[in-house]
Symmetry: C2
Subunit: 360 residues, 2 copies
DNA sequence: TTGTATGCGTTATCAG
DNA sequence: CTGATAACGCATACAA
């Protein structure tokens, strides 16, 4: 029963490989033991075609008993597909990013996929290299989380073997060709401004992201300018400072706002909780206490916002859900076989009132 | 030249697959175009055996020109190895963990490996499932980062196809069979206690991790008890509270220390910066300000420690380096072909003085 | 519904 | 140093 004839005249290898290496059980072993063909085993594994209940039971039993796991290389070789999805990020230890990854992971795991997290350090060449590595690995899809990419790179990416979706940031030329899930930066900032306005603030400073960051830099600044205008509030240019989302830059921007203005704003809106934290610290070192002397508002609603004293009023971006949706988009693309449909999905934000902004 | 005879009588397939699918260039294409055998191409790709300069040049040129990337499935099938290493963590958005992952990633990337990050949510079954998934993927090795595992599970793990190393936490039965890289919890806590003692504190409270956490719970408590004893300092049991490393638990523990003690400690040492942050907040809500009324010290030296006001004195654990070393250990295991050697490597800690502890 | 026989792209063995 | 070719384990078109 174990020696099915092989019609080619070469010797049958015994089950153990060259040097007693750990040979794992294969679909052939299962087939023989269950007295069916490998095709049948394959069918029950993949549920691809109907198999009689009797055989199904028998096969399943043998699979179970031998703890058979299909070899993913062989499977990949045969199908040209893997069950891995890649995620490229600039910095995995950034809380916003890791929360997004968590969301991606959550749905990927449910779908039986594993995610490969790759860090680019914000380096374009490295990013390209990782994309290629992912292509070698035959990733079924990839998600770019928090990456700032321009139109040229988008075009290159569209040529990859897998669908790509962006999350948290969108392509910088406005033409979204790659599917993207994102929060509405303009309206999120507008809502923050309105919140400040409602609290009685009229002179509002702004600590911005870098100018070369489309979604989180340019867009948010645009949101700030237009909403201030709508409210008919004036904004001296010296009320606007460009940081880089870091704590230190928040501190520095605060200092410059203080130094460059005879009349200080009564509130400062920062584009990340981290910069807001820096701003609070900077204000303190300038002898200003928050919120008595100055109100400060953050953005993101990372855990940090709650840990600070005073706890930060901020706008919550649901990064976990954003990651989940991105993964869902990716899977739907993978299922439809399309590289990109240009779909853009938004995730809702929400102003969170805590103690760093006071009513005046 | 393109039609090498095939001696078996079946038709030669044309290069395009069934439906104009994206067929990628294979080693055969390269071999034909460079007028050599696939074996030779394989040799130059892997540098496995000497190939004449002339052929090497020719092959390389063709590879370059066609942007040939070996198919990792085929390669894996032939070698039974992948260039994937798995990392299992409980919570990817925990800063301590993500920093460790960053370190792992750093060396893995250099070595040409990609890492697969899997989240277990601290769930044992899920952890087992992920381990099996990694086995299916033929991961070359896996790192357990910050996972609390007991002896039984270690034994199971040793049966996996790949070497495993633990980082940040060690096996809970003291017998280290799995290679691990870790910081010295006992001495780190001792150094913190000595720091407090040197600053004049004699009544010291302790906010501990959970009792079922071997490395970060039990060990640190042990460090606290023995070092207090060495210093001949008394510790009422009501000075010791068990948290779970969260901000909220830090707050709660602080409250209980306050409620359960007529004579308050002058300093409280928390086993994570996060709990220390909670403790600061808890103290504030009790009318105690830090460090005037009470000194509080953290552990880990996450970024949060610097962001807080007052900035936390704490003990720095170099998690990034710890991750790097773990990866290095894993690679050395992979190279030697051993599953485990029981090696234990320590990473140095350091007390960081900031402003949450005052001299008395 | 089930079985047979390839092909998938590499590596590695074994001859030259 | 080089070439021919048998695995590697699975999926699937084609037969039965």
């Amino acid at each position: 029963m174990y020696n099915l004839e092989v019609g080619k005249g070469f010797p049958i290898l015994s089950k153990k490989g060259r040097e007693g290496e750990h040979m794992s059980v294969t679909i052939d072993d299962i087939a023989k033991e269950a007295r069916v063909s490998t095709a049948t085993v394959s069918r029950v594994i993949n549920g691809s075609k109907a198999v009689s209940p009797e055989l199904t039971r028998r096969v399943l039993e043998v699979i179970e008993r031998n703890r058979f796991k299909p070899n993913s290389f062989a499977r990949g070789l045969a199908t040209d597909k893997s069950s891995i999805i890649g995620v490229i990020v600039a910095d995995i230890s950034n809380p916003v990013i890791s929360t997004t990854i968590k969301g991606i992971n959550h749905v990927a795991q449910q779908k039986g996929y594993t995610v490969m997290v790759c860090e680019s350090d914000g380096n374009g060449d490295k990013e390209q290299m990782l994309l290629e590595r992912l292509e070698e690995q035959k990733a079924s899809g990839v998600i770019l989380a928090g990456m700032n990419v321009d139109h040229n790179r988008i075009q290159q990416m569209l040529r990859m073997d897998f669908p790509i979706v962006m999350v948290t940031q969108q392509s910088s030329d406005g033409k979204i060709t790659i599917n993207t899930v994102i929060h509405d930066n303009i309206n999120a900032i507008r809502d923050a401004v309105v919140f400040l306005h409602t609290s009685g603030h009229r002179r509002i400073g702004f600590i911005c992201g870098p100018e070369n960051d489309y979604s989180s830099g340019i867009k948010r600044l645009e949101g700030f300018r237009t909403s201030m205008e709508e409210l008919q509030l004036e904004v001296p240019e010296s009320y606007i400072m460009f940081g880089d989302f870091s704590y230190e830059s928040g501190r520095e921007c605060m200092r410059r706002i203080f130094e460059e203005n005879a009349i200080m704003p009564t509130a400062v809106l920062a584009c990340s909780d981290l910069m807001a934290a820096g701003a609070v610290s900077g204000a303190a070192s300038l002898g200003l206490s928050v919120p008595q002397d100055l109100s400060i508002m953050g953005f993101d609603d990372t855990d940090l916002a709650r840990y600070l004293n005073p706890a930060l009023s901020t706008v919550r971006i649901p990064y976990f859900e954003e990651g989940e949706k991105a993964a869902e988009e990716l899977f739907s693309l993978m299922e439809s076989g399309e590289k990109a449909t240009g779909k853009l999905v938004y995730v809702p934000h929400k102003v969170i009132r805590r103690f760093s902004v006071r009513k005046i």
